[in-house]
């Protein structure tokens, strides 16, 4: 929590210090996330527009109803709920890693970062399974085997948007996992201990939460609504 008394008595814009009392890298990460938010926002809103302009659209509960190793059981929303919980939990472990960083606890940071990485890998595996399953049902960019909810032939819009947006999101998860691994190794080797702060963990933590946030809305607009 920012020290309120210090904040009230400080002339933030008098020079020689950050007017937002925040490290340069952290502020820039926030502004990068803003740009990424607009990118994903544009993707999702264009998906919404095209879907709004269509007379009918495939029913997500009829498309996304499978679960690994469950054969042909009809289980709408189950698999994607699992994916959502995995990502939320990995966000929580990330917050705990940052918390340990604030207390300078190297072992705690590494422990929670490893859990976060495992969560990210689990999510990616789930998404890969989902893509593979849909591919074997005949879906891909330009190919949509699922009929509209009103029974008419659907265009490839559904598949195009699904694979593009989840693809971009999955790529962000993947790059997040890679950076998480690098940063965890750095922490384990004592780089941050020597620096005296775990700000790098905080910054990558921001990125990871953003990835979770995007998933909340992808899950909402593709599977739920």
């Amino acid at each position: 929590m920012a020290n309120a008394a210090a904040a009230a008595n400080t002339k933030w814009w008098s020079g020689g210090k950050s007017p937002f009392n925040v490290e340069y890298g952290k502020l820039m990460m926030w502004y990068f996330l803003m740009s990424d938010a607009f990118t994903f926002g544009a993707f999702l809103i264009s998906y919404g527009t095209v879907r709004m302009s269509s007379i009918s659209w495939p029913d997500p509960n009829l498309v996304f109803n499978s679960f690994p190793f469950a054969g042909h059981a009809n289980l709408p929303l189950v698999f994607v709920s699992l994916m959502t919980f995995i990502l939320i939990v990995s966000s929580v472990t990330m917050v705990l890693a940052v918390h340990e960083g604030h207390h300078g606890n190297k072992k705690g940071v590494v422990k929670w970062m490893i859990w976060t990485i495992l969560g990210g890998l689990a999510f990616l595996s789930c998404q890969a399974w989902e893509w593979n399953h849909l591919y074997h049902q005949g879906a891909w960019w330009g190919r949509n085997p699922f009929a509209n909810a009103d029974g008419t032939v659907a265009s490839s819009n559904f598949a195009n948007f699904f694979f593009t947006i989840t693809g971009f999101h999955g790529f962000h998860v993947f790059s997040g996992v890679v950076i998480n691994i690098i940063v965890t190794i750095m922490a384990w080797r004592g780089v941050f201990e020597r620096r005296g702060h775990y700000l790098m963990i905080e910054k990558i933590g921001l990125y990871w939460h953003f990835v979770d946030l995007v998933w909340v809305f992808v899950f909402l607009f593709f599977y739920l609504v």
């Binding site: 020689g16 340069y24 109803n65 705990l96 604030h102 008419t152």
Partner: protein, 145 residues
């Protein structure tokens, strides 16, 4: 007041979070989980029950609002934006208000496009062979239409 220098600039360190911050983390986790479960519950309700179009839309609107609540908790508490200096929070939140216009304008346009298409260029609908078999009984009209 002690100053720290990272990369040349000076920042006044935030007071180290007391151990109530761990409680905050767990409390927020539980809130997020409950909201998600409620959303899923509504999702299943819409799947199994036949509501009028208006009631359907109201449930979906509620789910969307719940998701924005989740976003608020994640950004404010997990990403610690709520703990930052107010002006910095504003540099993040104010531009994002553009989304309000963005969403309304584009969805409105999409709807208008559909109406114009139906009015001026109606096409004979092409029936698809049943590719996906709904597991629930015939005549079920829940979900999208």
């Amino acid at each position: 007041m002690e100053h720290q220098t990272f990369g040349g600039e000076v920042t006044i360190p935030h007071a180290a979070p007391g151990d109530d911050s761990k409680k905050r983390i767990w409390k927020t986790t539980i809130i997020l989980s409950i909201i998600t479960i409620v959303e899923l519950g509504v999702g299943y309700l819409l799947y199994f029950t036949d509501f009028s179009h208006l009631v359907d839309l109201m449930f979906k609107g509620a789910v969307i609002i719940l998701s924005f609540a989740k976003a608020f908790y994640i950004v404010s508490i997990f990403m610690h934006l709520g703990d930052e200096i107010r002006n910095m929070i504003m540099t993040i939140v104010v531009p994002l208000l553009l989304f309000v216009w963005f969403i309304i304008a584009f969805l409105w346009d999409g709807d208008s496009w559909k109406n114009l298409r139906n009015q001026y260029a109606p096409k004979d609908p092409v029936k698809a062979e049943q590719v996906t078999q709904p597991a629930h009984e015939e005549g079920h009209k829940g979900g999208l239409k």
